[in-house]
Amino acid sequence: MSRPRSALLLVGSPRGARSTSASLGGYLLERLAGQGVTASARFVEDLPSAATQDHGLPAAARAADLLIASFPLYVDALPAPVTRAMEAIAAGRLQDRATGGRRDFVAMVNCGFPEAQQAEVALAICRRFAAAAGFCWLGGLAMGLGGTLGGRPLGQGDGRFGHVEEGLDLAAAALARGEAVPERAVRLLARPIVPPARFVAMGNRYWSAKAAARGIQDRLRDRPYQR
């Protein structure tokens, strides 16, 4: 096992620092820093493919010993700009083959639905990215109901997220040793924060309240593109 000296977090949410992706990734990064890993973070931007290649992000991603991608589940997979960034990172593989050395990759997905397993395809895509880009796959973590965290930082004593913090603590300890995230961390992150049956009513009230706050509750079901 080789211990990573540096870690780079890629935040793949367009909501940037206010995203749940940033909350989860930021917490993991802090824990890694606490174990002596030099940690930094970057946000994935919406760039055309040529600009993505020239952007510093692919080179930075390849320079880190440990790359962490934290992103929201979008339409069952990665948000488009994350795919674009991953393609650029993988393309760099040929350029720096000579430098060698092991690079690790871990992925974190948070999704809106309660079932973390809805992110299973997205994590499988990440695993294939790791292989294509020459990274060692150290596993994937998926969290349901990411909206309940809503971009607030973890570690503030909110009991609802205690198991998420515990899972990330376990993951950070393993990653700092150059090991894959343990199964228990995967299970803790995937534990539903609210039972799905209760969530449906809760979630629906949330959207109605959001619309009411804008005075458009009776327009929520509009069909602007009706045939």
Binding site: D76, P114, A124, W207, R227
Partner: protein
Amino acid sequence: MHALLLNGATRDGGYLDSVERHLEAALTGAGWETDRVVLRRSKMAACRGCFGCWIATPGICVIDDDAREVARLMVKSDLLVGLTPVVFGGYSADFKKALDRSIGNILPFFIRQAGEVVHARRYPYEWRLAGIGLQERADPDEADLFRRLVARNARNFQCSRAGATVLVETDPWGKAAAELTRLLEEMGVGV
């Protein structure tokens, strides 16, 4: 009946453009009307994750660019045919961008279906989804992942029929054409 061909190929004149022309001819021959969008030529920003298409301007994305027209064409269509290179087992960024920008076509409200939470439909129409992936080299595991992704999308978009195929650039054209015919038949297009 109406079909939308959404082409997520990264370059002009490649294999997927031939597939698109082939499908258009087949659909027209079967009496379908078609619309085509070549996404690499579209002006389309990535989704901002603001949910404005649900709670600010319901059903319409707050960003005024080509994604609005693509979303409108999706609603107009009985069948969406997606053409994309297979990227790590998933879609190209261009194709994915169009999908990410289309969530205004469903409602924010949740329902439970087959043991999972999904969003309720905004429009009452039946909707079919066909995913066509292209690999440079045959990779059965990657092709399998692509098909799983299409099946997942079909479930969350509540499509009445869905299917996928993965073509390989080096395969003879006859093999690809037969596969496309099979997929169209699966989608209920009499060819």
